[in-house]
């Protein structure tokens, strides 16, 4: 008797409808638990928007600063807008169409990395996904693959998990991290077959990290997280080093004379001259203590001694290199230092 009643219930179309609804509800709850947020259940396509960006053919901050910085600033502007927009779209895909790119340098990858990292951390209510397609140019494609950036963007990994090839190294941190400095020096020594004395490099890194910790980030700077990034690459007999932070920039943080302050307000202050003045050791410390302001001259010194080559500094609109200095039209968000170390076997780079 009871079995018959159950059969009737199971075959009941109303029950079937209820069962279907209930199963869907269970699935939805399961997805909520897995992803930890409600939007995971919604149809992704309906709530996804793709924003495409085309980089310049030479994607390099030091070789093609104006176009490259402008390109990255456009992305940054979009990321900022996405985070404050009130729309039902929950997922944004930033697609970088790299097909046309003929040359990529490490500094451009660093800047892209910092933008991507910060967009992921800042976007609490919305999801920003990054897509990069490979360039058609063989060299550029190989470079991008070797750096591990394609996988980093596709799989949305953290910076610590970037797997680049053996002759590259990417690292980041917040304070004056002696462990990282040691690792960087050991990497340079290993790749140069111990031909390079790294004492000057250790000094430079100490001052760069110290400057970032003390001056680069203040409470008013909320676009980027407090961090610095180092990219090392051994290419033939050259070690390329890029150090970057997304802080306020040297022109904004060094002490300025009253006339310079006025010129800056009027927008006619030459930023690269300010940077050069700080490199030369003119009293520019923000702290106004006489025992300070030695960091930038310490970074500049190995360039004068010949321990490093091609020192290039880009900070906000200031562009300083050994060959020339100029003010850019587009402003970099932060400061980037680039230099080369020659790793010839048997060469003595001691001070």
């Amino acid at each position: 008797m009871q079995i018959g009643v159950l059969d009737i219930r199971i075959n009941n179309p109303l029950r079937k409808e209820w069962k279907k609804r209930n199963d869907r509800k269970k699935l939805r709850n399961r997805l909520h638990r897995v992803h930890g947020k409600k939007q995971a259940f919604h149809s992704k396509e309906r709530f996804k928007k793709i924003e495409s960006f085309s980089p310049p053919t030479i994607l390099s901050v030091r070789k093609n600063p104006e176009a490259t910085i402008k390109f990255f600033n456009n992305i940054l502007e979009k990321v900022k807008k996405i985070n404050i927009m009130h729309t039902e779209i929950q997922t944004y895909v930033i697609h970088i169409e790299m097909q046309c790119v003929m040359e990529i340098t490490e500094d451009a990858l660093m800047y892209l990395l910092t933008i991507a990292k910060n967009s992921r951390l800042r976007a609490k209510k919305k999801t920003i996904l990054w897509r990069i397609n490979s360039p058609t140019d063989k060299k550029a494609k190989e470079y991008l693959q070797n750096s591990g950036f394609i996988i980093f963007f596709e799989q949305h990994q953290s910076i610590d998990t970037i797997e680049c090839v053996d002759n590259m190294n990417i690292t980041h941190g917040t304070n004056v991290d002696t462990e990282v400095m040691k690792k960087v020096c050991d990497f340079v020594k290993e790749k140069s077959n111990e031909s390079v004395s790294t004492k000057f490099l250790y000094k430079m890194l100490t001052e760069l990290m110290s400057n970032t910790t003390q001056h680069a980030y203040t409470n008013s700077n909320i676009t980027f997280f407090h961090s610095w990034y180092i990219f090392l690459e051994k290419h033939e007999n050259i070690m390329r080093v890029t150090f970057m932070d997304n802080g306020l920039g040297i022109p904004n943080t060094i002490r300025k004379k009253n006339t310079e302050k006025i010129l800056k307000i009027c927008g006619i202050m030459s930023e690269h001259k300010l940077v050069f003045s700080a490199l030369k050791g003119e009293f520019r410390s923000e702290t106004k203590n006489k025992n300070r302001g030695k960091g930038l001259p310490e970074i500049y010194e190995p360039s004068l001694n010949g321990n490093i080559k091609d020192l290039t500094i880009i900070s906000n609109k200031a562009f300083y290199s050994e060959k020339n200095g100029q003010d850019l039209k587009n402003s970099l968000n932060g400061t980037m230092f680039y230099w080369k170390i020659e790793c010839m076997k048997g060469e003595n780079n001691e001070n």
């Binding site: 002696t178 040691k182 790294t198 910790t213 006489k290």
Partner: protein, 120 residues
């Protein structure tokens, strides 16, 4: 009295202050150098600080250690003559980077001049 920073403290010195991270100049001065210097004021002993063996020294680390030491002794209300006397008994050794020796003495001289001026 001999102090070898690489052996007695760290091979990887950091930045200026403790806030900046591990193995800072401030930390070395407060934990190691200051006590030895305070003892040496009475004993009139020489202090040899050996900079060899480490990965390298940032100027901020050295300034905070040696310039900071002079400022700290003035803050401890130690007589200017005694501080000057102690400064002359600090011997800095650096075979690997001889340029650091002059740098360190300049930091101490500058701190001394600044504090003496302030005291007057």
């Amino acid at each position: 009295m001999k102090i070898n920073i690489a052996k007695d403290y760290t091979e990887t010195p950091g930045g200026r202050t403790r806030k900046e991270g591990k193995f800072s100049g401030e930390d070395f001065r407060e934990n190691i150098l200051l006590n030895k210097c305070l003892n040496a004021i009475d004993t009139e002993e020489k202090i040899e600080v050996d900079l060899d063996g480490g990965y390298g020294y940032g100027s901020s680390f050295l300034e905070e250690v040696f310039g900071g030491l002079i400022r700290r002794l003035f803050d401890e209300q130690i007589a200017t003559d005694k501080i000057k006397n102690l400064k002359d008994r600090i011997i800095v050794k650096s075979d690997e980077e001889p340029a650091l020796i002059k740098q360190v003495y300049t930091y101490m001289e500058d701190a001394m001049a600044e504090k003496s001026q302030y005291e007057k």
